[in-house]
């Protein structure tokens, strides 16, 4: 199959080609992740009246490299009471599945490491492995915060995997294939977000929870468990955790771009060449990435029970609804518009149902205002100086 370099380079040995592709890919991904952190810091800084990194190179572009050197040269600490095997294995148990996902990802029509016939199944299965690493890290660190974080991570990852997989099952019913490549080809004219908006919404929410980003960063919540499972990790091990977190973010962003936004196929077709296709993929991917960053800067964290009730009481019933209605449309051979109709009803339910199923906040709660009247006589008003002052905008 194709190597990750230009399509012209071709090695006959599939095994060798795969290994080379993986190595090349890991290196590319590492640099990509480094610059994802730069992008995130810049974007979030702009949302917060800040500038972000500016001192290292133009626009702070060398900041990720400086960070990498800092992390690499840090002292490698391991708590004396930590379980050696679990502590060390956890890093790899999270890191390796995160990168293995990309084996089956078709970046363009002819850029992929391996063509797996049921690649969607493979991607979901491999990305579901990471919770083992969180449990290992939580247990192996011999720290109560880490343990708490690990338990939270396991519960959250399992809970949110269900609605995400069910939402993708609904898409699989429409496209009748488990191959991401075929799914992209299916979206030749209309991307699946049009036919399956509800599945898209569920996928978007669940993927935020799967990559443990705010508002679902409960396992690592800084103000509660102070970093959760990462609390005892430092230096290169810690940065591998961060790396895999960002790689996961890329993976879900790519999956969303391929399955719902038409990947490199829509709207220009297969024949525009790999360069434009790659660009198209990146643009669609960055929509998801930007969404993850946007909500990071603006929303507070959910509480653990609210997180669970949202998954089990709202997302899972609605994804089941999507599957049932898709089956209805397919069995009775209704036109494609029926997909949109039922799914749109589901989106309305997604917005509405939260009001009844999950406890909602009470907006505009009134305060009682107790007036205080001036009882004493004020000093004679000040002449000139105070009154003549004109300040721009002071009247607002």
């Amino acid at each position: 199959m194709m190597l990750l370099a230009a399509p012209a380079i071709n090695i006959d040995n599939a095994f060798l080609s795969g290994i080379l592709g993986l190595i090349a890919f890991t290196l590319v991904m590492t640099v990509g992740v480094m610059y994802a952190t730069w992008y995130e810091r810049k974007i979030v800084a702009r949302m917060q009246y800040r500038l972000g990194p500016t001192r290292t190179g133009p626009f702070g572009l060398l900041q990720p490299i400086a960070d990498t050197f800092k992390l690499l040269t840090k002292e490698d600490l391991r708590p004396a009471t930590a379980d050696f095997i679990a502590f060390e294995a956890a890093v790899f148990a999270i890191f390796i599945p995160a990168l293995m996902v990309f084996v089956a990802v078709p970046f363009t029509a002819d850029w992929y490491i391996s063509a797996i016939p049921m690649s969607l199944l493979y991607i979901l299965a491999v990305s579901g492995l990471s919770f083992i690493g969180f449990l290992l890290a939580g247990w192996g660190s011999d720290n109560k915060y880490a343990l708490l974080g690990g338990m939270r991570a396991a519960a959250q990852l399992i809970s949110y995997e269900i609605p995400m997989i069910l939402a993708l099952v609904a898409v699989v019913m429409v496209t009748s294939t488990l191959d991401v490549y075929q799914m992209i080809l299916y979206q030749d004219t209309v991307p699946l977000i049009v036919w399956q908006p509800l599945a898209f919404g569920i996928f978007l929410i669940a993927s935020v929870a799967e990559v443990e980003r705010p508002p679902f960063d409960i396992p690592t919540g800084e103000s509660e468990v102070a970093g959760g499972v990462f609390i005892e990790y430092s230096g290169i091990r810690w940065s591998m955790f961060q790396l895999s977190s960002y790689v996961n973010m890329y993976a879900f962003a790519l999956l969303g771009a391929f399955v719902f936004l038409g990947g490199w196929e829509w709207p220009f077709g297969t024949d525009i060449g790999w360069g434009y296709q790659l660009l198209l993929t990146m643009v669609k991917m960055s929509f998801f990435i930007f969404f993850y960053l946007l909500i990071r800067a603006t929303v507070p964290r959910l509480r653990v029970d609210q997180l669970m009730s949202y998954a089990w009481k709202v997302l899972i019933p609605l994804s089941l609804y999507q599957i049932v209605t898709n089956g209805f449309v397919i069995v009775y051979d209704l036109p494609d518009v029926a997909f949109l109709l039922f799914s749109g009803l589901g989106v309305a339910a997604l917005v509405y149902s939260a009001a009844f199923i999950v406890k909602r906040g009470e907006p505009r709660r009134p305060l009682t205002m107790v007036p205080v009247r001036a009882t004493a006589k004020a000093a004679p008003p000040a002449p000139a100086v105070a009154a003549d002052v004109v300040v721009e905008g002071a009247a607002t």
Partner: protein, 376 residues
């Protein structure tokens, strides 16, 4: 042989988890041991005293002028309120008459200090709730304008020591009134930003509403004061109920909550900031353009007649009081501070039991404690 019988029943153990003194959300060196059953707090044991340095005793060893500096160092987010409480106690013993202009400047600075303190609360509380520092960066630039004004007037960013027994240390800058107006523009901007970011945020509401709720009776029984007490529905504000300085010359409103939970404490503080802006504007209008800023016939060496006095002010966190006993001479015989942080913190255990661990963080955040003021 008798094989050993294993007890197969499931043993459930509560985890004592040590939060602090170096935890991101304990606001200083506060330590609490949470006894957790899963995620739910079954017990909370607070440990204080990490910052204790005997401030009260130190102030007994200093003369009345030197003690002002220790008020700053004790309540380091509401320094002017603390200074005001202390100098008022001495002034009351010495029966000094404070000139109007000094009183107005005191009120303006104290209310600005309330604004800066509440901005600090808004920023830190957002982080407790899990907003990634956005509340902080919204609140802090606006707080910085207030801080710059204080620096211009007093020459210091943190330890002002500007209120003196009998008046003020020196005259304010020439463009003081204009500068305050400028600062208020930024303050209003900050209030709008924070209001839009947090108040109607769905997640913020569900996180805050209904947790840590105290009824009015409970709040009074625990001796809470300030926004904590008013959120529980008790309209008690020393500026209204026991007016000191020139507070009886202003018309304003006191926000009182109806539920007593964390969300109401947030709302009360937000509304209090608007009212502070209101008070400052009235004070700027009434401020005499000229006049003395120090009481007449003030001796070079401050000596009080024997006696005892309790003076209290409505600080941003509640009732900040000074109990002063003098046996004559230039030093207090006994000095006791009544700090709102300490009294409010006493309610922590009752509020947290039965709540989630994440809520315990929010409840602690909603108390807005200053650890130095707790430990003194």
């Amino acid at each position: 042989m008798v094989t050993e019988q294993h007890d197969r029943s499931l043993e459930v153990v509560d985890i004592p988890i040590n939060m602090g003194p170096q935890h991101p959300s304990t606001h200083g060196v506060f330590r609490m041991v949470l006894v957790l059953d899963g995620e739910v707090c079954k017990d909370v044991i607070p440990h204080i005293g990490y910052m204790h340095r005997g401030g009260e005793k130190l102030m007994e060893a200093m003369d009345f002028r030197q003690g002002i500096g220790y008020c700053d160092r004790t309540e380091y987010l509401a320094q002017f309120s603390a200074e005001l409480g202390y100098v008022m106690a001495v002034e009351r013993l010495m029966e000094l008459e404070i000139p109007d202009r000094a009183e107005y400047i005191r009120v303006i600075l104290t209310e600005l200090n309330r604004l800066s303190s509440h901005f600090m609360f808004m920023g830190a509380f957002g982080i407790d709730a899990g907003v990634f520092a956005t509340s902080f960066t919204y609140a802090f630039p606006q707080r910085e304008y207030i801080q710059e004004l204080f620096e211009e007037v007093t020459g210091d960013r943190l330890m002002y020591a500007y209120f003196r027994v009998g008046g003020l240390a020196w005259e304010v800058t020439d463009n003081f009134v204009q500068r305050v107006h400028e600062v208020l523009v930024h303050t209003r901007q900050g209030l709008r930003d924070l209001d839009e970011l947090l108040t109607k945020n769905e997640i913020f509401m569900v996180r805050c509403q209904g947790i840590g709720a105290f009824t009015a009776d409970q709040a009074i029984a625990y001796g809470l004061s300030g926004p904590m007490l008013r959120a529980s529905g008790v309209p008690w504000d020393l500026r209204k109920d026991d007016p000191y300085s020139v507070y009886d010359r202003f018309t304003f409103e006191i926000p009182v909550g109806n539920h007593g939970d964390v969300y109401d404490r947030y709302l009360v503080r937000l509304e209090e900031m608007r009212q502070s802006v209101n008070i400052i504007e009235q004070a700027l209008e009434q401020l005499p353009a000229e006049g003395p800023i120090v009481a007449e016939k003030l001796p070079r060496r401050l000596r009080t007649p024997p006696g005892e006095v309790y003076s209290k002010v409505e600080a941003p966190r509640g009732e900040w009081g000074v109990y002063l006993v003098s046996k004559g001479g230039d030093k207090p015989y006994r000095l006791k501070m009544r700090s709102p942080s300490f009294c409010n913190l006493s309610a922590l255990r009752e509020m947290c039991i039965g709540q989630f661990m994440a809520d315990a963080v929010m409840i602690l955040g909603s108390m807005d404690i200053v650890l130095c003021d707790v430990d003194r």
